[in-house]
């Protein structure tokens, strides 16, 4: 065979390299650099067993470091706390020497992490960060005109997802109380675009959970009687399609969970719901239900009920492990920790990297990625 190796084969080799090596190979020659930078959307094929998303990204409370852990092999890597650098991008001149310790983590997608920051008098913005290659992109500031009374922080809510049709990353931002406007930012466009939000659709004021599944952001939406009466009239799952940039109300909400407070989460390629029930005094439980076939409302199955009997503790669901084998919860109160429940055996375990790292603010499935390579701003 001739010596010439087509680009397709070079890519097959590069996909199997650790990220550091791939970036180093950008120095081989111009065509390799260009080949690598134009193929960042390709899924990486890293051992073991070419699992997609073998990692967990774990964020500890502010002023601590960020870790990510290779779940199955029990290893972890500590990565530099990006908050200092993110502060520089958010306040480039920082004349008032503002120190930002805490960004909200919006979510992760394909190895990118989205942080958001709202500050009543300065406006709001978001940053998309790739911890694998240490690059980030900061989104343009949004001014908030006529900020209403109330909370100084977190008056906008965000969702982060991926449009697989145009291979573009997008951030959705909704601000409560400000008409029916929503905005979408896309990495390709680099700007915010204002959209009209249909009447009666989510206008959340805080970072309510969403699940990014099947190319769309999904929320649980409670329709309340009216502005004054908080009683829930109906509950549905609504979605925002990242590709068409349209809202849609679905019929996916299971009948018996309507009216209840639910946490929505991604479950493999579909959706799961965690609902809390208060039993007798001081006792409550969490039901874990999943929609086995995405879109098929009759496929909702209750997997188990987790009692939360311990005094003084609160259990908050993080979500599910990528392969659907375990549900993960954050336990706060006395003895903060992360616990896991095996969905088959119902066995409860504890997730801890070591004695020091037991409590996390954010936990999600994660994969190394080259996305953002070729974009500005790295550290």
């Amino acid at each position: 065979m001739s010596d010439y190796l087509p680009g397709g084969i070079i890519l097959e080799i590069l996909r199997r390299l650790p990220i550091k090596s791939v970036i180093h190979c950008c120095l081989v020659c111009r065509s390799w650099k260009s080949l690598i930078e134009s193929s960042t959307h390709l899924r990486r094929k890293v051992q073991p067993n070419n699992q997609n998303e073998p990692y967990f990204l774990l964020l500890k409370p502010p002023s601590q470091s960020l870790n990510w852990s290779l779940w199955d092999l029990g290893e972890y890597i500590t990565i530099e706390n990006p908050y200092r650098h993110l502060t520089e991008s958010v306040f480039p001149r920082n004349e008032n020497k503002i120190i930002v310790n805490n960004f909200n983590v919006v979510g992760t997608c394909n190895g990118l992490v989205c942080f958001a920051f709202d500050f009543k008098y300065y406006g709001s913005t978001a940053v998309i960060w790739n911890p694998s290659i240490r690059k980030y992109v900061s989104l343009p500031w949004r001014r908030i005109s006529n900020p209403k009374n109330g909370s100084v922080f977190n008056i906008a809510s965000y969702a982060f997802g991926y449009d697989s049709r145009t291979k573009d990353y997008k951030v959705l931002r909704t601000v409560s109380d400000f008409g029916r406007e929503t905005e979408v930012w896309s990495l390709a466009r680099g700007t915010w675009k204002i959209l009209r939000r249909p009447k009666d659709f989510p206008s959340r004021g805080d970072n309510v959970r969403y699940a990014f599944v099947n190319g769309a952001v999904h929320w649980v939406h409670h329709r309340r009687r009216d502005q004054k009466d908080d009683a829930i009239v109906d509950t549905s799952i609504v979605l925002f399609d990242m590709s068409t940039e349209l809202y849609r109300e679905t019929r996916m909400m299971p009948e018996d969970l309507r009216g209840k407070q639910c946490h929505i989460s991604r479950y493999m390629e579909s959706i799961g719901l965690f609902t809390g029930t208060v039993l007798e005094s001081n006792k409550s439980s969490i039901d874990v239900c999943v929609m086995r076939d995405y879109g098929a409302v009759q496929s909702w199955t209750k997997l188990f009920t987790l009692p939360t009997y311990l005094e003084g503790t609160e259990l908050e669901p993080f979500g599910f492990k990528k392969n659907g084998g375990e549900a993960v919860f954050k336990m706060s109160g006395t003895g903060e920790r992360v616990i896991t429940v095996d969905l088959k055996t119902k066995k409860v375990g504890e997730f801890a990297i070591n004695d020091e790292y037991k409590y996390y603010d954010f936990l999600d499935c994660f994969a190394e990625s080259l996305a953002l390579l070729g974009h500005v701003k790295s550290f």
Binding site: S2, I9, I10, S31, Q47
Partner: protein
């Protein structure tokens, strides 16, 4: 390990009236770019999509000798070796364990340059699992090597200007440290 001589076979004589489709002989004959003729077992040949398509699409008789002009004989020998083993182990219980052991030996016997040649062949013959394996082997080999080594191996010239090169380096300086500088 088989050699061309062992695999060489005379072209089959026509045996009277042509048989029905079911009477096809179970061997497939190919000719490599350097003129060697190989006789392959059907089950091994069918692991290679290119060969499979050639015969299946137009229902070409197995009497035909398929030309594989882009493949050298030593390369085909290696491909046959791997695919035969794969087919043999495929339905066994400790498939993964035994395949891994075979893969480790297979890689040991080859230089990086030969692995590159085989990746091209695997691609041309469209043998997905073999291509995956070879690419992984090459990736494992170059993962801690520095850029000079990679250029030498792939036969690629550095066409960056000094400035461009330094700029590219500063984009992610942490990625270009602590690498092997050995050339061989």
């Amino acid at each position: 390990m088989s050699t061309p001589a062992e695999n060489e076979a005379s072209i089959k004589q026509e045996s009277g009236p042509s048989g029905t489709v079911q009477d096809k002989p179970k061997k497939i004959v190919v000719r490599t770019g350097d003129g060697e003729v190989f006789e392959l077992k059907e089950e091994v040949a069918m692991e290679m999509e290119t060969i499979k398509t050639f015969f299946m699409e137009d229902n070409i008789s197995y009497e035909t000798v398929m030309p594989l002009t882009n493949v050298d004989s030593w390369e085909l020998v290696k491909v046959i070796e791997y695919c035969s083993k794969y087919v043999e182990l495929k339905n066994k219980e400790n498939f993964h364990k035994e395949l891994k052991a075979f893969q480790d030996e297979f890689v040991k016997s080859m230089s990086p340059k030969t692995l590159l040649s085989l990746s091209n062949v695997a691609n041309y013959l469209e043998i997905k699992y073999f291509l995956d394996f070879i690419c992984q082997a090459i990736a494992d080999h170059i993962k801690s090597k520095d850029v000079e080594y990679v250029r030498e191996l792939f036969g690629v010239e550095n066409d960056f200007t000094e400035e461009e090169y330094e700029m590219a380096k500063t984009e992610a300086p942490w990625a270009h440290e602590n690498l092997d500088k050995d050339l061989y």
